[in-house]
């Protein structure tokens, strides 16, 4: 498979993100918040995809890495003079250390990766439901500690005074970086080995692949992306620990499954589609015009429409909107169809 033929697989998701950002720049500043939020969601869901999509193991722990990333980037960028006002119990070395925007994002990714690696070291031996519940336990513990530990952050308060550096460009570039890393990973031999264990664990193990090691690697890469996305998030709005908990876990998992958890395109499409619908109905609380027709809904409709829509998509397209396939040019798909037809007739 030539590189040129493969290129759309990563270019199309990236272009979708770019188009979202450009559209976001064109609308009024009031609506821009929805586009920014969508781009952050893309970054988070792509991180989620790196582990769940490639390994086929369900993990609920991803949002804890987002939270840890947000805490890292947040606590390191609050202006020095405000640190002790906002976070009186903060540890000394965190009070004295303040870094810039880019450095804080890089550190958020690093801390996310280290945390994911440390957690994955014991947990990646598990699979199935045990893995699901164990990663859920990680999410609960992380949320519990971030909520009450005053030495590492604002505890139950939200992260006020973090410089709001995540604008449309930073969010878009951030999401595209995540897409690039995710694609690069799935094209390496490690990504391929992990996908092999997803399809048939016994055969993959028989071929000499260490399922544990490959899962741990993907978990760490996913942790880095999640931490990075958390950094972008905290630079966008004052988040609190409970914003990075169950609701976000459910919604991002739903995005991945609705889009199609088997492909990078699925992750991006799922995030864009689900958040698009959600934003539309949230905005419709203040009346939106659709082709000259005034639409007005009650607050809370967005969540209900989203829940119902998710159920419907899962019933009628259980493998997601993209069916778990990467983007491919129509020419190639026809060839595959011909091939199958030829095979069927012989």
């Amino acid at each position: 498979m030539s590189l040129a033929r493969r290129l759309p697989e990563v270019l199309v998701p990236a272009l979708l993100v770019l188009a979202t950002a450009l559209l976001g720049l064109a609308v009024s500043s009031y609506l821009q918040a929805y586009f920014l939020d969508t781009l952050i969601k893309v970054a988070i869901v792509v991180g989620l995809y790196v582990f769940i999509g490639n390994s086929g193991v369900l993990s609920f722990g991803q949002i804890s890495f987002v939270a840890v990333g947000a805490w890292t980037a947040g606590v390191l960028t609050v202006p020095k003079e405000q640190k002790l006002v906002l976070m009186p119990g903060l540890a000394h070395f965190l009070v004295t250390t303040t870094v810039g925007n880019v450095a804080s994002l890089a550190l958020a990714a690093a801390v996310g990766a280290v945390f994911a690696f440390a957690v994955g070291l014991p947990l990646m031996r598990l699979s199935g439901l045990a893995a699901g519940i164990a990663t859920f336990a990680v999410l609960e513990i992380t949320n519990n500690i971030l909520n009450y530990e005053t030495r590492i952050g604002p505890a139950l308060n939200n992260f006020a005074s973090v410089p709001a550096t995540t604008g449309m460009w930073q969010a878009a570039v951030g999401a595209i970086i995540c897409i690039g890393v995710a694609y690069a990973y799935q094209r390496t031999r490690f990504g391929r080995m992990l996908r092999a264990t997803r399809e048939d664990p016994a055969a993959a193990a028989a071929a000499g692949i260490s399922i544990y090691r490959q899962r741990l690697l993907a978990f760490t890469v996913a942790g880095a992306l999640a931490g990075f996305a958390g950094g972008l998030f905290v630079h966008l709005q004052p988040v609190a620990a409970n914003d990075l908990f169950l609701d976000l876990t459910f919604i991002t998992l739903a995005m991945l499954v609705v889009g199609g958890s088997g492909s990078l395109l699925g992750a991006v499409v799922g995030a864009l589609a689900v958040n698009g619908v959600y934003s539309f109905f949230t905005a419709a609380v203040n009346t939106v015009d659709v082709f000259g027709w005034h639409l007005h809904v009650r607050a809370g409709t967005a969540q209900i429409v989203l829940g119902a829509l998710m159920v419907i998509v899962l019933i009628f397209r259980p493998s997601g909107l993209t069916g778990g396939r990467e983007f491919s040019l129509p020419r190639r798909r026809r060839r595959v169809a011909d091939l199958e037809k030829a095979r069927a007739t012989t």
């Binding site: 369900l58 859920f136 607050a299 829940g307 998710m310 159920v311």
Partner: protein, 302 residues
């Protein structure tokens, strides 16, 4: 002596026992459906939430207690059957991950309907509140609801055990949860078994809803969510594939939560869930097939 040393009192012990009992019922409700459908029903907590709001509704309209309870059972049962028919039945052949996410979606949907209808503020339960008054048992003050919860849980579990072991329907259900396809080949009717499991699971949800809402007294739209997560952890820790280990797992985690809540010094109670979930991780690492199942377990072979 030992109780005093551990800072443990009889009321704490009774509360823990009551919580363990209710969690055991929820564990059976979740475990039964998992047994026949291989479906982890995350929306179980929202059934309980709906039942609790039925009680709130009953109290606001001055219904007598038994009518409120009847309403609670009705609402939960209808919702439970509806959930199975509309969502789980079409998804019966999908992968476990898709089914789990579908139950998330249902949970999310029901929770937000409740939020839209009742708003974010807690509602007092209103009915049955006198059950929180203590009874004097051998000089120890123990809440009535704790005693009732333990008794109800024990009664329900005994009836269920009889149903599963002595009736042919129970035999069918056990066969179906051991190996659904083979059971069908031998003449077990799939829809009947699944329907029964869903109804029993709904009844247990309604019973738990009454117990939990009297214990909690205030109901919000997230009621039952955290309990369901803890019970799910307990069920997996106990051993998901068999009803008795699953029940024991649910009971243990409820009991442990109750005891720890009473024993921990007050500056550490906020970290209660961390302690519980850390224990969950440790047990899963040591015994991934379940704490109360026979050692070894089954390894899937090609």
């Amino acid at each position: 002596m030992i109780l005093a040393f551990l800072n443990l009192t009889w009321p704490t012990f009774a509360t823990a026992l009551a919580l363990g009992g209710v969690y055991a019922l929820m564990a059976v409700g979740i475990g039964l459906v998992f047994g026949v459908l291989r479906l982890v029903n995350f929306a179980y907590g929202q059934l309980i939430m709906a039942g609790a709001f039925a009680l709130v509704y009953g109290a606001r309209h001055h219904l007598p207690n038994w009518e409120s309870i009847l309403l609670c059972f009705g609402v939960v049962l209808v919702l439970s059957v509806l959930m199975d028919r509309v969502v789980f039945r079409p998804l019966r052949t999908s992968s476990p991950a898709v089914m789990l996410v579908a139950t998330f979606a249902v949970a999310f949907l029901l929770q937000n309907i409740a939020l839209l209808k009742y708003g974010p503020l807690p509602r007092p339960i209103g009915s049955l509140t006198d059950l929180n008054a203590p009874w004097d048992i051998f000089g120890v003050q123990i809440k009535k609801i704790a005693v009732i919860s333990v008794a109800t849980a024990a009664g329900c579990l005994a009836i269920l055990q009889l149903l599963l072991s002595k009736t042919s329907l129970g035999l069918h259900m056990r066969a179906a949860s051991a190996d659904f396809r083979t059971a069908r080949l031998l003449g077990v009717r799939a829809n009947r078994v699944i329907g029964t499991a869903v109804i029993i699971s709904g009844l247990l949800a309604a019973t738990s809803a009454v117990m939990l809402s009297v214990q909690a007294q205030d109901i919000t739209y997230t009621f039952g969510l955290q309990d369901t997560i803890i019970v799910l952890a307990g069920v997996v820790v106990g051993g998901m594939n068999r009803p008795i280990p699953a029940t024991l797992g649910g009971f243990s985690i409820g009991f442990a939560t109750g005891i720890l809540g009473g024993v921990l010094p007050s500056n550490q109670t906020q970290y209660l869930s961390s302690f519980i979930f850390a224990a969950v991780i440790v047990v899963l690492l040591v015994r991934p097939n379940g704490l109360f199942t026979r050692a070894g377990g089954t390894v899937e072979r090609v």
